[in-house]
Amino acid sequence: MADPAQRIQELADEFAFFGDWTERYQYLIDLGKQLPAFPAEKQNDAHKFHGCQSQVWFDAAWQNGQIHLEGTSDAAIVKGLIALLFRVYNGQTATEILSTPADFLDTLDLKNHLSANRATGLAGMMQKIQRIAQQAD
């Protein structure tokens, strides 16, 4: 399995390939569509992630020392961003998660296109994943 650094590099290569914003956003929207369905019964307050303007639900579990993240949003672009995070983090060990630079999105030429609100929401989600990893470490 690819380590986080490799996955980030893959994503960076994919994003670098896009010619304009339309393709970048379309790719994010499509990534979101491919996200496995998040169980409806978990779309409750206990799984709600606060700090986003749209609604985000999120859950994390450990299987054989590897993190299993699932989540969704009612907004398509946020859903794509969640998919992006999961692509980097899912299946990683706590140590791997903690060694992943928290600013990896900067390498994707994406942050410039995110509103400040959304970038804050995304950063919050990354912090949450890191906290979960710290507790498991």
Partner: protein
């Protein structure tokens, strides 16, 4: 159109409009949140800092005298803009939010448990939460004029909502979320027959034309500078003179007193009584420039221009399948709120921004009304100002089509 209304010349007065965003010419349609500033406002503020900066009132030196003179001249400009009877009826505040908090605080001292404040379902949170705080503190009751499905107020319900305990009717002039233009003169006339004072949240009123508080017949009228081409952090509360004499001060501090001893304080006469501490002097000077500029405009021509922008946008957007306009009252300011079934407003807003178009998405600080009108996720709101063009409406329509295609 009249010679005084030359759109190209008008736009040239607003430097911030002339820029690219994400590689596209900026189309600024977030005017209900804040308007861009004309050069005369920018220069008035800069000039103050370059030449006249000093604290106002009580200064013995030349700069302080000049600053005071300009600050008080700004009060006269607000008086003229609202057609208030006297400059003393104008209190400078941070904006509508502070104006309403001032009234809730000072007028609120006359209230007791069981007293009622009547607001409308169209209110901005700034005209809900200050009253809610009083409800928590004093046990007053908040009653609400309902809104019809088209976003207009159900004024037929008004007589039943007023009781012998109603102490104030507080409604907005224009709804920020939907653009509904409320018949405030009619509401105030009704309130006057019952001896109930009225407060009008005018944040969205003055940006679209002159306001006459005497013709409206309200007791209080609040405005925000940033909505009317002036700096942020400055605004005004108009209060009919008897209220200013009668109500207790809002905050204590310097500038609002005549004499202070440890056992007794004499307050200054209004409006100083309500202006504790050093105010936003440069803001008031910017507001003066904006309102003097506002006065020069041909509002007949602008009203015609703004309603044709609104009509063009409404017609174009309504043609898009799955798009629902939220709020289609007969009388509207140029504000258009919409949702597209199956898409989130934030996604539309993000994809519009990518195309250089600035709109606002979300609840617009008016959660109750959006929930009622079937838009609990909020709406996309495009709000126009006098400097927007028909080409910009076309750009909006193209961009919404494109965003919709990308999301479906």
């Amino acid at each position: 159109m009249s010679q005084r209304f030359n759109l190209r010349a008008l736009r040239a007065e607003f430097p911030a409009l002339d820029q690219s965003v994400n590689g596209q010419p900026l189309v600024y349609l977030d005017n209900a949140a804040t308007t861009q500033k004309p050069l005369c406002v920018i220069e008035a503020v800069t000039h103050f800092y370059r030449h006249d900066n000093a604290n106002i009132h009580r200064g013995v030196h030349a700069l302080s005298a000049r600053a005071t003179e300009q600050y008080e001249a700004a009060r006269h400009s607000v008086q003229r803009a609202l057609n208030a009877a006297a400059a003393e009826e104008i209190v400078f505040v941070r904006g509508v939010t502070e104006a309403i908090n001032l009234v809730a605080s000072s007028f609120g001292q006359r209230l007791k448990a069981g007293d009622e404040i009547l607001i409308s379902a169209l209110e901005h949170h700034a005209n809900i939460v200050p009253w809610h705080l009083l409800r928590e503190r004093l046990g007053i009751v908040l009653t609400v004029i309902p809104v019809n499905d088209d976003g207009s107020l159900d004024l037929g319900a008004l007589p039943q909502l007023v009781t012998p305990h109603t102490r104030l009717i507080a409604v907005n002039h224009v709804s920020n979320a939907l653009g509904t233009l409320n018949p405030v003169a009619e509401i105030c006339a009704f309130a006057r027959t019952l001896g109930i004072p009225t407060l009008i949240d005018g944040a969205q009123g003055l940006p679209h034309g002159p306001v006459d508080v005497q013709a409206i017949g309200c007791d209080f009228y609040a405005l925000s500078g940033h909505k009317v081409f002036a700096p942020s952090g400055v605004g005004a509360l108009y209060a009919r003179r008897p209220w200013l004499d009668e109500l207790p001060p809002y905050q204590g501090g310097g500038d609002m007193i005549e004499s202070v001893r440890f056992d007794a304080v004499r307050y200054a006469p209004p409006p100083a009584k309500f202006e504790a501490g050093t105010p936003n002097i440069e803001g008031a000077i910017g507001l003066k420039a904006a309102l003097d500029w506002h006065r020069q405009q041909d509002w007949c021509a602008i009203a015609a221009h703004e309603s044709s922008l609104l009509a063009q946008a409404q017609e174009g957007l309504a043609a898009l399948p799955g798009l629902r306009l939220i709020g289609q009252a007969e009388h509207k300011a140029p504000v258009i709120s919409f949702v597209i079934d199956g898409t989130h407003p934030h996604d539309i807003g993000t994809l519009l921004d990518a195309q250089g178009i600035a709109v606002r998405t979300g609840q617009h600080c008016a959660m109750p009304v959006l929930e009622q009108l079937g838009a609990p996720q909020g709406t996309v709101r495009a709000s126009f100002a006098l400097y927007n063009t028909h080409d910009e409406v076309e750009a909006l329509l193209r961009a919404v089509h494109r965003a919709h295609r990308m999301l479906s």
